[in-house]
Amino acid sequence: MIDINTALGNWPFLRFSQTTPAKLSKHLKQEGISQALVSSIDAIFYPDPDVYNQLLAVSLKSFPELLPVFIVNPILSNWERIVDSSKVKAVKIYPGYHNYSLLSNPVYSLADKLIENGMSLMIQMRVEDERSHHPLCQIPAVPVADIVKLAGKYPSLPVVCLCPYFAELVPLTSNTENVYVDISFVETMNTMTRVLRDVPAEKILFGSHTPFLYTRAATMKTEYAEIDKKTLTLITETNAKKVFKLK
């Protein structure tokens, strides 16, 4: 199983168990996850995310199953260097936390560069349920309509949405060919069966949002899914390999 949505670091509002690469690696293996894309949590708030991108990359060197995904803020002047230095065929952006619109020139330049490099764009739609944000630190979710417009403008760019809600899946995927979603925040009765009624399996990726959420909450969605093995493998492995060009 490949988990496309994990992270390492500190967060002011939660206390995590998986605080080191070794702990994260062991924990994910215990949950049946053999490979994971990992980002730095500290890079979200730190003024230059690349400082923490690089620290993360160094810390993961002994853990080949944990692949560092760099966080890019396209309004900072170092975004292009970060994109070029990434070994993983994707970068992650936080438009809500970094306070810019997806429909803006810096993002368009980033999209052009990612297409040129054959990379995917991961968009962190939210980190936490908006209702639980600190009252003086309320970060807006990335608007679905903006993602759809951006994806439409760059049809050859794979756009991977992290932490969408169930209600956002259809608007994100129904009129776009290149938008993918992870399942970490998706929840409704009999989740996977219900989601697959509206969303093609090829658009769905396994993500747990570890360590923010209990990993088991995500693995049980797939473990108990009433779907055939081929579809399950698409969601938990094949789609990730294709989108991120993993070996």
């Binding site: 908006e130 409704t188 009765m189 959420l213 909450a217």
Partner: protein, 253 residues
């Protein structure tokens, strides 16, 4: 043994689910042996009149009669309705039909003295009260209760068992609010499975005061049970949370 202490049926946009048998089938797949049916609390909006309340409870009575071994009924009330009606409805649901407790949603803040008559009745009958509450930074409904409001209710009625739902939504602040009130329990239902919350609740309240709940059908058994299975607590504490506490608190056979 797993008992889900918080489900609704049907519910808002999920009215497409016409058969409770499907919910029961899925529950059994996860090893659940009982579901606490709290009523279709938003069927008629937030402020239901007496006829609407009766209709909601009629449906719960009907469903529990069809599946008496699996479903446990709860009497849904709007505490702003007349005291006479509420007492009659409690008699009908709890005394005549064996419901195990009362459920209040967001029709009236639980600091209101209008709750006194039903809380006294709950005390007389020895049944528990499930009072919705949440801390939400996006703004709350006018009459929605917070965990601090529940603490107030608990101090007024220390002999009535009160369940505060939505562990993650109430957050650490909510857990602290009710920690000193030994008659208040928390259920784990709803919201995302935020890591660390179960461990925090066990450390702060003790495992004896926590119940597993899902908030089906807006949520899924998978993620909601996964929250308990994934928590770094002892097997013994997991067993308590997943079912043993519910048996004890609600005197289940």
């Amino acid at each position: 043994m797993i008992i889900d202490a918080h489900i609704h049926y049907p519910f808002a946009e999920y009215k497409e689910m016409k058969d409770i048998c499907e919910v029961i089938r899925l529950a059994k797949k996860f090893g659940i042996s009982k579901l606490f049916l709290l009523g279709d609390v938003f069927r008629h909006g937030h402020f239901q009149n007496e006829e609407q309340i009766k209709e909601i409870n009629d449906l719960t009575i009907e469903l529990v009669k069809k599946h008496p071994d699996f479903l446990v009924g709860f009497c849904y009330l709007n505490p702003a309705n007349s005291p006479d009606f509420m007492i009659e409805e409690i008699e009908r649901c709890v005394v005549k039909n064996g419901f195990k407790g009362l459920k209040f949603e967001i029709s009236l803040n639980c600091r209101s003295k209008k709750l006194d008559v039903v809380m006294q009745k709950a005390g007389e009958l020895g049944c528990a009260v499930i009072q919705h509450s949440l801390y939400r930074s996006t703004g709350r409904y006018n009459e929605e209760s917070t965990p601090a409001d529940i603490a107030d209710l608990a101090s007024r009625f220390p002999d009535v068992k009160i369940i505060m739902p939505h562990l993650a939504g109430c957050g650490m602040r909510g857990i602290l609010d009710i920690s000193g009130h030994k008659n208040v329990y928390v259920d784990s239902s709803g919201s995302q499975a935020v890591a660390g919350m179960v461990e925090y609740a066990v450390k702060t309240l003790g495992a004896d005061r926590i119940l597993y709940g899902s908030d089906i059908p807006g949520r899924d058994f998978s993620a909601q049970i996964g929250r308990i299975y994934g928590a770094e607590i002892s097997k013994k504490d997991k067993s308590k949370i997943l079912g043993l506490n519910a048996v004890k608190i609600f005197n289940l056979k």
